[in-house]
Structures are given as structure tokens and as C-alpha cells.
Symmetry: C2
Subunit: 257 residues, 2 copies
Amino acid sequence: MDDLTIVKVGGNLIDNAAELDSFLSAFASIQGKALLVHGGGKLATNMATRLGIETKMVNGRRITDAENLKLVTMVYAGFVNKNIVALLQSKGKNAMGICGSDLNIIKSAKRKHPTLDFGFVGDITEVNAIALSDLIEKNITLVIAPITHDGKGQLLNTNADSIVTEIAIVLSKIYKVKLIYSFEKAGVLRSLENEMDVIPTLSEAEIIEMQERGSIHTGMMPKTDNAIKAMKNGVVEVIIGNLVDIQKNNLPGTRIV
Amino acid sequence: MDDLTIVKVGGNLIDNAAELDSFLSAFASIQGKALLVHGGGKLATNMATRLGIETKMVNGRRITDAENLKLVTMVYAGFVNKNIVALLQSKGKNAMGICGSDLNIIKSAKRKHPTLDFGFVGDITEVNAIALSDLIEKNITLVIAPITHDGKGQLLNTNADSIVTEIAIVLSKIYKVKLIYSFEKAGVLRSLENEMDVIPTLSEAEIIEMQERGSIHTGMMPKTDNAIKAMKNGVVEVIIGNLVDIQKNNLPGTRIV
């Protein structure tokens, strides 16, 4: 089995040209096959404000009405995705930006919830491992935006942490997958007061214990939950950290064990 | 050589769900290999108004400052492109939406003009026929948005008629290409008063003569100029018409001879 490094990055990088460039240089320096999944958080929120579109959040999830779906499709699959691709091309990577509807890569179902209408939010039902690996085998660096579809013509907004996790799991049958949830901190911190006090390893039991103690920040919980899921389902190595620190500064982040 | 049908469609279809669906059904009914290039005209203009971004046009070309580039990247490569892809997937086509930066499909150079600064507008310098045909041979239906890149990390706004023409020309070395410039009329009209009075064939001499007489509408001139260029450079068949009329109503449009 070949190695494959899969990286998730937040979309908040994109509005800072220097930070984005530094992140993408780190990504381009990964040896061997690599795949990138991005979000588009802050930029989508800024653009919503400019357009007078209301942003509703419940439990950290965006409620996606028709106007918000249009917005995230534009920002994530358009602006963020294509800028990353152009920059990776300039760094010598044969990048291609797609979302879940392209080649039917990620199918999802509109979320059903007993009391809450999430709108056009999709929960992943199927990831097309064959289509993904066909492209990866051609040395194409895939850049994936967090928009999926239901197969009946409807685009859906899907959480980027969930997408990267499900992709990593299905591709674990074909590659030795290393999965990195990259964000602005160097890893999971022992306390928010000390940015350098990164917890080197975390087991599922430790994560649950920390969650119960309330010492994992709520914004981090989708990452730790997804990290555990990936680890249990065939992904060889799972890291929560900062890709620039990992590639350039020899700071390995938090490894899930 | 295999047949390949290449279609250009304006972006103004996208905001009318019924028209878009009917166009895409016609496109999906094309026998054999097919490729779609789209614009995004009216929607980009509407969105610019909502965002308070000024739309400057000179000689029918949009002047693309940084804000306008962001806008067209969002609308063309994001919203329009991914909606078309999701709808084609629902019609059984294995569609994939890309723009010029993806796989370095279309390289362009920022336009230089003695007196006018077009901003982030790119004139095509290179089309990657190998990358395109690699995907076409995998029975992927490419859907191409009119955004290109300079190879140095900069996205550029490029006219969709120019893109479809250059793609048709380079792919003529590999396929027997039929090129259809699809728009809202049934073809080039003898007079704007009679929508059904379509000129069945037009030669280059006739087009030049009509242009000199002023009887070709200015909005049509990029199409007729591009159609002549395609015809002279290896494209087997060039049609200006309406794809729905061509596929469903047996109205063949205007053939360039």
C-alpha cells in the first residue's frame, strides 16, 4: 500500500494571503500522495453579512436555507477552492478542485431531525473511493470543497471535518492514510493559557474523560470525535495540529492513539 | 477519431430552473462524448449589485478589479458550475466541474492594452489538450467555468466564448469536434423582428459583409468571430443556435460553412 496524507484545513486561512501561502507551501512539501479538504468558515460569514443573508448557527452547525446554500457553494466551491488550486499549481502541484457532486464523489442525504430544520445540510451516505483513487493514481492533488449532493440534483452543505474523516476511512482500504486536522493551534492544548503546551498523545478514553471534565473546547469537539472515528476505522495515523508547525518547525501536534 | 460535441451556454440560464433543466436534458441527450463550457453573465451582475460591487463594461468586456474577480470566481466556478454538475449527475451523466486552473487546463496572461486596464482579465495562452482528453476518455463529462490562471497563483477572468473556441481547436487534433454556441435564439436571425427567420448557413464572407452592413447585432459578434476562427482551425462542424431546439425540435440553427 502507498502512503497518502490527507489534510483538513479551515477556510479562515484564505483571507490572509501570507498565512494561506505558508500553509500551502507546507502542504506542497508533503512527500508522496496528498489530498486536501478545506472549509470556508469566516469568509462565508463575512460574505453573508455583505449580502444581508442571515447566518443561523445551532450547535456549531450552520442552518442552511436556499440563500445560504447559494452563498456557501459560491464561497467554498468557488472562491476558496479555486484560489487554493491556483496557488498549489504555482507551487508545482497538479491540483484539481472539486466538490462532492463532481464525479459523484460524495453523496449525502438532507438531514432529518425531530425538532430542527437544518435546511440544505447533507449527512454523508456514500464516498466514491474508486473515483477518488483513480484521480490520486494519476498524481492529481485533489482539493475538496465541503459541498455534497443528493444525486437528485440538489447540492447540500456538509461539514468539512465529517467529509475529511469519511474520505480518510474509505481510502484506508487502498492506502496507508495519515490524516491531519490542521488548524491555527499547534495541537490540542493542555490549557488555553499556554499555546505551546500541546498534549502529545490522546487516547479515546482520555478524550472522553477531558470532554466530561469540560477541558476540551466545544469548537474542538467535532475534531476529536472525528479523529477517534478515523482511528477506529483503519486510518493509520491521526494528528490534530498545525501543518506549518508539523512540516517546518518539527512540532508534531497531538497524535490520537 | 471519435466524435466530441462541445457546447457553450450562457450563464443567464441558471437563474431560471425550468430553462436550465430543459437545457441540461438536451445536453444529456447528446450521443457520445460531450463537454460543456458555461458563462455566468446575469447572475454575476445581479450579485454585484447586491454586494455593492460596481460592474464596469467596455466593448462588451467586463473590467475585472479584485472584487469583481472574487465575485466571478464565486459565481461562475462555484454556484453556476456546481449546480450544473449536480443536475447533470441527476440525469445520469458523470459530470465534473472545473475551471482553467484545475490540472492547469487553461493558462492565460493578464491582458495588456495600451490605454485601458482590464484588471484581472486573462487572454488564453495555452490549453492542455492531454489533460482534457485523459478525462474525456474516462467518460467524464467536463463542465468548464470561464476562470483561468497565469500559472503563478493568480486567477483570471476569461471570456467563455474564447475558452470554448480554443478548447474546440486543440481537441480537434484528437476528436472530430462539433461545436455549438448555444443561446436563447434559434440561430443567427435575418432580422430581429422574426424569431423564426434563422439563416441556415453563413460563410466567413457573408458574416463580414453582414458585420459591415451592421446587420449582425454587436452582442453576436464575439460568437460569429469565434465561430469563424473555430471553422478555420480544424473544428468539423460549427453551429450557432439553441441546443434545446437542435436536440428536441429538429431546428438545426445556423451552420458556419
